[in-house]
């Protein structure tokens, strides 16, 4: 998870030109880091490539829009990193 977070944080820093030391486990990608949906596509692209997965962004967005999930569940970086770990683990099964 720690290395997953480091990879994600580095991607965000590079993609969105955000100082790496301001990106924390508890940072919310949208509310704290100010990443908009278009920039998040670049991040998702880089994460997909780095981990060999496909972040289910549409499903997450739908769940948030339907009130079935909060943005924190997916876009706080600690939670995002955990989701990525789950997807990587599922891929290996």
């Amino acid at each position: 998870m720690s290395s997953t977070f480091d990879t994600v944080a580095n991607i965000i820093a590079e993609t969105c030109d955000i100082p790496r030391d301001t990106i924390k486990l508890e940072s919310h990608a949208i509310d704290d880091l100010g990443i908009d949906s278009l920039d998040f596509l670049d991040i998702a692209f880089a994460i997909d490539k780095a981990f060999g997965i496909k972040l289910p962004l549409e499903q997450w967005t739908q769940e948030v829009n339907d009130g079935k999930a909060s943005t924190e569940q997916y876009f706080v970086l600690q939670n995002l990193s955990a989701r990525i770990d789950d997807l990587v683990a599922a891929k290996g099964k």
């Binding site: 596509l41 692209f45 496909k54 972040l55 962004l57 549409e58 967005t61």
Partner: protein
């Protein structure tokens, strides 16, 4: 090109849904009001229309890949290089490859060649949404038929 309708692809020449690539032909018209202003006495195909041509070829690839279930909309451009001038009457070979099929987005690598010389290339990001139904879908089917978009996988023209 039906440049006045912003329909820039004339003909799909190859679609390979295994390799996720597409090739298309687009002939720049010899006359257009666009060339009267861009530029008087020195008509040049605007660079934005070259970019749009790459986007449209990419778009048809994504539409074919998703079997008309998903519609791409241009979202972002990266590494765009416009390498040389294009003039009225030139025949352009437009090619694209699906570099990534993400959730709600797609990324292509596209290029245009004229006389086998690289004219321009770009990395293009699209938002990809459920295909609008009704008249929109009917119109897109009509255009797809006109430009010869193969409806079967791995068809080579």
């Amino acid at each position: 090109m039906r440049i006045e309708y912003f329909q820039l692809i004339d003909r799909i020449t190859e679609l390979n849904l295994s390799e996720l690539t597409i090739r298309a032909e687009a002939t720049v018209p010899t006359t257009s009001t666009i060339f009267e202003g861009h530029f008087p006495g020195r008509p040049l195909m605007p660079g934005v229309l070259l970019i749009e041509s790459m986007a449209q070829a990419s778009g048809w690839l994504i539409i074919a890949h998703t079997k008309f279930e998903r519609m791409p909309f241009l979202a972002a451009l990266k590494e765009v290089k416009l390498r040389t001038f294009v003039t009225p009457g030139q025949v352009l070979a437009v090619a694209a490859k699906l570099a990534h099929d993400g959730s709600g987005f797609a990324v292509t690598e596209a290029e245009i060649r004229a006389d086998n010389k690289l004219v321009c290339n770009a990395t293009i990001t699209f938002r990809v949404v459920d295909f609008p139904k009704g008249e929109f879908l009917a119109n897109m089917h009509e255009v797809a038929t006109r430009i010869g978009l193969p409806m079967e996988a791995d068809t080579h023209g």
